[in-house]
Amino acid sequence: MSWFKRVKGGISTTTDEKKEVPEGLWEKCPQCKKTISKSDLRENKYVCPEDGYHFRIGSEEYFNILFDDGVYTELDADLMGADPLKFVDKKPYDSRLLEAQEKTGLKDACRNAVGKMNDIDFVVSCMDFSFIGGSMGSVMGEKIARAIDFAREHRIPVMVISKSGGARMMEAAFSLMQMAKTSAKLALLDREGIPYISLLTDPTTGGVTASFAMLGDFNIAEPGALIGFAGPRVIKETIGKDLPKGFQSAEFVMEHGFVDLIVPRTELKTKLTNLLQLLQIEKAKPISVPRKKKKTAEEAE
């Protein structure tokens, strides 16, 4: 299984990047249609310098943006999807999982990492939309639960970066119960006074919105992100009318009072640092997680 080796080697980055952003040296902004060089785009945190369009990126890119020098330790990297219901629609779920794993080099739609963000210990759980639409199955629920437990154990802030179409239907009620599981864990975190940041990116819908994504002490959104419970198509069919322009955009959701602030990705790290410093959280004990540097591809060989 080649994907497995690649992830182990810590260079899932390259595979991941290939999928999120197409091949080549140049990238076309879907909004303003301008061409941008890939390195400029990376330099600008995958935000179009012309009009601020936020390209859809994966966990590796977010970890690199947030953690100092892109150094982090991945947690719970071994978890991967199973097929508890032996679910078959047009294709068996287990072969869908394998396909997605091969295509993305990822094990499922969510990765956990701990590292320093401007010297603040920070644990982050981040979704990968490229893996079956970032859908929430048992792995995502368990990873988020573990990230929260890690934050509780070490008394450090935790952030979940949502980028998901919602439930993973092929896990049916198991998927549904991940909403309960993650929210229950957040209730414990809440009691212990540890900050939880929910970063809502494009798109954040369904069961993800109706659980941890809306439960942040701070709900922070990326500009222009689609954020909602029901999908726009379903709502349109239900009410039999066209939806107003900007409906369910981050700006719309903030206007209605469910998002604290909208932060462009270029300012994300600075803003989060500022916010967490203001909270002056005291750590209970030093972090015991080994701080190994991310391996390069050559070292992994």
Binding site: L85, D108, A167, A172, F174, M179, S183, A184, G228, A230
Partner: protein, 318 residues
Amino acid sequence: MQILDFEKPIIELQKQLEKARELAIKDDKKGTREKAVAELEENLEKLKKQLYTHLTGWQKVQISRHPERPYTEDYINNITENFVELHGDRNVKDDKAIIGGFASIDGQTVMILGQQKGRNTKERQYRNFGMPNPEGYRKALRLMKLAEKFNKPIITLIDTPGAYPGLEAEERGQGEAIARNLREMSVLKVPVICIIIGEGASGGALGIGIGDKVLMMEYTWYSVISPESCSSILWRSWDFKEKAADALKLTADQMLDNGLIDGIIKEPLGGAHNEPEKAYKNVKAEIKKQLKDLIDMDAEVRIMKRIEKFSNMGVYAA
């Protein structure tokens, strides 16, 4: 009574039986017709048992939606006394798709609430087909907090085709309302019993579904999506609802097997609507039995057990 498609053989046999009975009364000197009647009666019972004990997922979904099935209000009226309905979320409005209030079950005061469907066109619209808006979930949470304040156990009755996917529902934060309930219900200091009495569709059901005991009635369903919507999304056609119902493993037996609920409440043969009194009796007995165990438990222990239960749900490889 509305007949479901798969119940037609029973109806046929019932008609034959009635005819045979008529004939037997008119002219039955040798007693042969009486014997035929007895035989038909026996066959009918056999057929019913055979049919209702081997229902497919989709057939159970159909029974769960039977228009004569008891709804939340019927359970409240038939298993409690002195119900005082409480309205409103103290914020926007009173959502008619969720009803609730304090009531007494044989002397034990409880907070009882649930989604409410309507019986006729007018009522169905009034109740929004049992699809709550955010204020419904917020009303439910307000009532549950009230129960916590006065140290009374909570019973939630779940019967919804889903949270309402409307424009205003989004504006007023449907996602946030459900999410908050999930978090707050997991740490309620009083016992919480949740019972699926009809349809348990997705987040709209779970929004009042975090309990120490989550029980399903025998002919109900509970899943992340309805079989019809699942069919339309995964098969890209509305024609695979039976297949989708099987694949989702959404029946009470399957949910119990997968460790996602805590128990099943028996229904009269063919569904609660056939003998509502029996259904009320079973539900009441189960509530009393569960409360007896839960009330004596230390609140903090109960909360941690509740959280642990949900934390253990999920299957993955490592």
